[in-house]
Structures are given as C-alpha cells and as structure tokens.
C-alpha cells in the first residue's frame, strides 16, 4: 500500500506542476504584537501590567520589494489608543509550498501617533514558523528616545492564491 502511494506520488510529480502563475505577486500579512512598555517608560518600569498591544496589516506590492508597507492601530497601557504606520525591510524570507511565510528576518521603521503621545521605533525581528501561514516573531530595537524595546508578535503572511473562474 505504501509503495502504491509512492508510485502514485512519483507519477503526480511527473505529470503536474505547481505553478507560480496562480499566486499573486503582492504580499499581504497581519501582525498582532505585544510590547512591554516598561522598557519604554523607565519611570514605571516596575508596573509589569503596562503593555503596548497593536495590530498591523502588511502590504507588499511587488514593485516595492524588498520593502513593505505596514499600518494599523494599537493601544498603549490599555488607555492610550494610537494609529501606526511604517515600512519594513525584508532582510530575508523563506516561503513554503503554499507561498506562506516560513522563516523571516525583518527591519521595520514604525511611527505611532496617539492623541497624547507619539513615538518612532526601529526594530529588527526574526520569525520562526508555527503554522502554514506564519509564526512567532521576536523583535528588538529602540524608540525615538533610544530606549530599548522588545516585542513578541504573531505574524502571518501569504502571497494569495488566485482562484479564477473557469474559462468557457
């Protein structure tokens, strides 16, 4: 039974191709990020309940490669909402067969703008896969005051499969 499966699999590889044409050239992604604020706010560094929670979308049109746009919103210390926007540089990235991100290294420049505060971040992150569409990213960097930052994110990203209507 196992040999039959292997022969069938070999035949499949001979007669079919997994085509890149059916995948979009534009990247889309999502990032849910947690950033402990005690690194950012030394004066309250013992209050570990203060965290920065943000949700970002990533869009990477092919003409912008190796950079991608990033934007979203977040809340600082569960009190101060803000919007964020920036750019990330894809230092390296591997894709799986379904064109989802596998391993990746990224450097991002992100600005946060809230009603009472604003900040800028430069961070370098490394991602390891935990699902077919992405994984967990750990990033370190600095903010505009050069305070160190550390963030943990669940990020996913794909080059979408383009399912077309059958031609008549």
């Amino acid at each position: 039974m196992r040999w039959k499966s292997l022969v069938c699999l070999a035949a499949c590889f001979l007669c079919v191709s997994v085509s890149a044409r059916t995948f979009s050239e534009d990247f889309i992604g999502l990032i849910l990020e947690v950033k402990p604020d005690f690194f950012l706010l030394p004066e309250v560094d013992k209050k570990r309940d203060i965290v920065d929670l943000s949700f970002n979308a990533v869009y990477g049109p092919s003409w912008f490669s190796p950079f991608r746009f990033r934007g979203g919103m977040g809340i600082m210390s569960f009190k101060k909402p803000y919007v964020s926007a920036g750019v990330e540089w894809v230092v390296f990235e591997t894709l799986n067969e379904s064109y989802g991100i596998q391993f990746g290294g990224y450097i991002s420049l992100l600005g946060n703008l809230g009603l009472e505060h604003w900040d800028l971040f430069v961070e370098a992150g490394m991602m390891i896969p935990v699902s077919p569409i992405g994984g967990v990213q750990v990033a370190v960097g600095v903010n505009r005051m050069l305070h160190p930052t550390l963030s943990l994110a669940y990020r996913g990203g794909i080059y979408p499969l383009q399912v077309q209507e059958p031609s008549k």
Binding site: L9, A11, V18, G100
Partner: protein, 123 residues
C-alpha cells in the same frame, strides 16, 4: 520531567515543520503521464476546493481534496465532452479569506486546492 521535555520537543517539531510539503494524488489512480497521447481540445477548465485542517493540512486534515483530485478533474473534463486532460497545473495555497480564517481561528485553518488544465476528446 523527561516526558514533559519530550512532549515539548514533539510540539516544537510539529510547529516548526507545520508547513511541510503537500501530497497530491487521485483516489482512482487515473493521474498519469502519457506524453504521446493526442486528441481534440474541447476546452480549458479550472476547479478549486477548500481544505480544512487542524494545525497543518498534512498532520490533521479535516477534508482531503488533495488526495481526491479525480473528483475535481473528472467532472470538469466530462462536462466538456472530454476523455482526458493535459497541461494540468495543481496549486495549493491560501486565498485572502483562507488566510484570514487561518490567522484568526486558533488551531483551525483553511487552504484551497486549485486545479486547471485542458480537456481533450479522443477524436
């Protein structure tokens, strides 16, 4: 303690290798390679089916369209009056909705198998 470490290693391996390769096959064994076969083209086709899974489609698939490609290819060929198909292209990936579902729903994911090709009749 040792069992716990082994369990952790297993979970880590499952997660790290959770994006391994996809197996494609047919249930009826009619996916073959016949380079010299000739016929009259009767039309191109494309079909797609959703593939639901837990954690990973290889490890815990909830549906198996990738192992039953005949159920996607056959009806399309026969609907066009064809007898066989050539120029098959089989893709597995995520549409935007697949991606959103897989990202937000814990452990459960959805992908899409897409098959396209050209149907031929014997004469």
């Amino acid at each position: 303690m040792k069992k716990f470490v082994l369990l952790l290693v297993f979970v880590a391996l499952v997660l790290v290798f959770s994006s391994c390769s996809m197996l494609f096959k047919t249930a009826d064994g009619n996916l073959g390679y016949f380079p010299n076969i000739i016929g009259t083209p009767v039309g191109k086709f494309e079909a797609s089916q959703e593939l639901w899974f837990i954690i990973d489609p290889i490890l815990f698939p909830m549906s198996r369209p990738h192992e039953n490609l005949d159920k996607m290819i056959g009806p399309e060929v026969f609907a066009r009056g064809g007898a066989f198909a050539k120029n098959l292209e089989i893709s597995y990936g995520f549409t935007i909705w697949d991606f959103v579902i897989t990202y937000f729903v814990p452990f459960v994911g959805r992908g899409t198998i897409s098959v396209s090709g050209e149907a031929f009749s014997n004469f």
